[in-house]
């Protein structure tokens, strides 16, 4: 089995091009998962445009993409109108809701293509763009078990787990984990204190080879951005350690963070991971263009 993950957009909130963000990238969230010939896409930020162009370069026809959205804030859907495979007939895009009959994301994607916002109507797309849902307990899609979990965000948001033959990847962005810690007050007062994550998150992430998690803020930044919907990056370390995750990719970098600032943020996570896991957990900053093989 071939299982790959590629980062096409790792920036939070708004595209942030420029010389200061060249390494980690300026495109908003989009993650590609390929399991053998099946394609799964998480979020449709501006990175989705780049993914679309790359899919065309690969030449595989037709393109069938199973698409999952953490939520429908702009930075997670703004790439969809520029996703070229959506304009080409014979391609199929399946937009998944998280509960039986849930077509919310399908409707919201079409809403952003109304004429006041975009010149091409959703109904004029050449590809078949159809809603589906994960049911009450998740769904196996082309051999991969996909489950969703509700997260704390303004909305809310959803995380997704993809698993096949014991290889599990979790994508969990836009989740203010700090507000849901079982010892939230203590963890806010004392950054060094262990952060006790809710059991449901730990169980959801348990045993993942790779956890791709929202780590928008440094500890210092978070002090002024509590309730903005994103956690301290360091809090993701505690979740990953508790869940026995092998690799933690911090993503959804704040648009105010330069590459150097992101590196500092990741280094703080590494120090914490070393202390909490003795080196078992590997932490890195997700950066555009990086592709991992999940073994």
């Amino acid at each position: 089995m071939n299982f790959f993950v590629k980062f096409w957009g790792t920036r939070g909130s708004i595209p942030t091009p420029g010389s200061l963000t060249q390494v980690f990238g300026g495109n908003t969230p989009c993650i590609e998962l390929r399991v053998d010939d099946a394609l799964y896409v998480c979020d449709g930020g501006s990175g989705l445009r780049e993914l679309g162009l790359d899919l065309l370069r690969r030449g595989k026809k037709p393109i069938v993409a199973h698409m999952f959205f953490s939520h429908a804030h702009w930075d997670h859907i703004q790439g969809f109108p520029f996703f070229v495979p959506a304009f080409l007939k014979d391609n199929s895009l399946i937009i998944y809701g998280t509960a039986p009959g849930d077509t919310k994301f399908h409707k919201l994607l079409s809403g952003q293509m109304e004429s006041d916002y975009f010149p091409v109507a959703f109904g004029d797309l050449g590809a078949r763009v159809a809603p589906d849902d994960l049911g009450a307990e998740g769904k196996t899609i082309e051999g991969v078990a996909v489950r969703a979990i509700a997260q704390l965000h303004h909305g809310p948001s959803y995380g997704y787990a993809f698993e096949k033959d014991g290889r599990k990847v979790v994508y969990a962005t836009d989740n203010e984990l700090d507000l849901e810690l079982e010892n939230a007050d203590e963890a806010a007062r004392d950054p060094d204190a262990p952060r006790r994550c809710p059991r449901r998150y730990v169980d959801f992430c348990r045993g993942a080879k790779l956890l791709i998690a929202d780590g928008q803020y440094t500890d210092a930044e978070y002090a002024n951005k509590r309730t903005w919907g994103h956690p301290r990056a360091t809090t993701c370390v505690d979740l990953a350690v508790e869940a026995g995750v092998e690799q933690l990719a911090i993503t959804h970098h704040d648009p105010l963070q330069s590459d150097d600032k992101v590196r500092e943020k990741i280094e703080a996570c590494r120090v914490r991971a070393q202390r909490l896991s003795g080196g078992k957990l590997q932490v890195f900053g997700a950066r555009e263009g990086m592709e991992l093989r999940i073994d």
């Binding site: 060249q22 690799q247 590997q282 890195f284 990086m290």
Partner: protein, 144 residues
């Protein structure tokens, strides 16, 4: 200009002598006419990206990345040949895309670590470290 052609072939430049700035390549037979100086300044402006081997057999040395597509390995057919049993015959590919480069693992036995993280492929940026077995390179962007 003889040393320039050495770099053109993608072989080690300055092997055993540490990092050699490309402009040093013009120090031996520096031409003096104004037209030649023009050539020199253009060459300086387009210094290609390069890999600096900082650990491994033959380190330190430098490999200029002047070709669009170059392979790293211990096989004789590779452009960047590394004499290490921890490096596969065809271990990694470095390709140029515009002004930047990408690295791809060619199903190697020991993998490619980018700044310590095993990757399948990635874009490269100034100062990135690439580890292939016991060989460590530092990537340096070109200057235009």
């Amino acid at each position: 200009m003889a040393k320039k052609s050495k770099a053109d072939k993608g072989v080690a430049a300055g092997s055993g002598q540490g990092l050699v700035p490309p402009e040093d390549e013009f120090s031996d037979d520096m031409p003096t006419s104004e037209s030649h100086l023009g050539v020199i300044f253009r060459e300086r402006e387009r210094r290609p990206a390069f890999l600096e081997m900082v650990e491994g057999p033959g380190a330190p040395c430098v490999y200029m990345l002047e070709r669009v597509d170059m392979q790293v390995g211990r096989g004789a057919e590779t452009e960047i040949r590394v004499d290490s049993t921890e490096v596969s015959r065809r271990h990694a590919r470095i390709t140029r895309a515009g002004t930047s480069h990408q690295v791809q693992d060619l199903e190697s036995r020991n993998g490619v670590l980018l700044n310590g993280v095993r990757i399948h492929s990635a874009s490269l940026h100034e100062g990135d470290t690439l580890q292939l077995g016991n060989v460590v390179f530092v990537y340096h962007e070109g200057q235009r």
